[in-house]
């Protein structure tokens, strides 16, 4: 299938097809959200696109996470533990960078605790999303594994 979207899609055909399906479903929801806003509106003009894009991004991400197709090679307990450790390290790295950037973009006279709490929350969510994806992948792969 030739499409410019291929640049952003995985090479494995199952993953590619599934991801395209999630994006298409998300696209339909986005159109529905826009349409609904026309009917029940008027809303503040900047709110509608922000919410619509939020719905699209959240839907596609959530479907991808629960599909269990991110960690395709994790099928044993040892693989799982190793990957979980990687996720913890990745989350900590992300948290440090996120908190650092958050400090940089703060204006004058901000409370130090604010970017720290934001950083902790971002780290927690980053870890939870990745861990859920890993757990789903592990369960799926275990069922499909060689006996």
């Amino acid at each position: 299938m030739k499409t410019w979207l291929s640049l952003f899609l995985p090479t494995d055909e199952y993953k590619r097809q599934k991801l395209l399906l999630f994006i298409a479903e998300g696209g339909v929801l986005l159109v529905l959200a826009q349409f609904l806003s026309l009917i029940i509106g008027p809303f503040e003009s900047s709110l509608v696109p922000i919410i619509s894009i939020g719905i699209f991004v959240f839907y596609v991400t959530f479907r991808y996470i629960i599909s269990g197709m991110e960690y395709t090679e994790v099928a044993t307990q040892s693989d799982y533990k190793k990957e979980r450790k990687n996720i913890v390290m990745k989350s900590l790295g992300f948290g440090v960078i996120f908190t650092g950037l958050n400090f940089l973009v703060q204006g004058e006279g901000f409370l130090i605790i604010e970017p720290i709490i934001m950083g902790l929350l971002a780290t927690l969510f980053f870890f939870l999303f990745n861990w859920l994806s890993l757990k789903q992948s592990f369960n799926k792969n275990r069922e499909l594994m060689d006996e």
Binding site: D12, E13, K15, T72, E73, A75, S137, L144, D146
Partner: protein
């Protein structure tokens, strides 16, 4: 779709991961194909058949 990919793979003494690597797929995709939960494209069917040294009929034709 029922198929005989798993049998063919075991005959060739390959693991799911080895077959996946050779045909440019993931281990999960091979597992899904073997279980009949995913219908691969013709291109992937041919790649699997070539790797396992069997014809498409032998691997994918359903015999009632």
């Amino acid at each position: 779709m029922k198929n005989r990919v798993k049998l063919g793979r075991i005959k060739k003494d390959l693991t799911q991961a080895q077959l996946a690597k050779r045909v440019g797929a993931t281990r999960q995709t091979i597992g899904l194909i073997e279980k009949g939960d995913y219908n691969p494209s013709l291109q992937l069917c041919i790649a699997i058949a070539k790797e396992l040294g069997q014809t498409l009929d032998e691997l994918f034709w359903e015999v009632s």
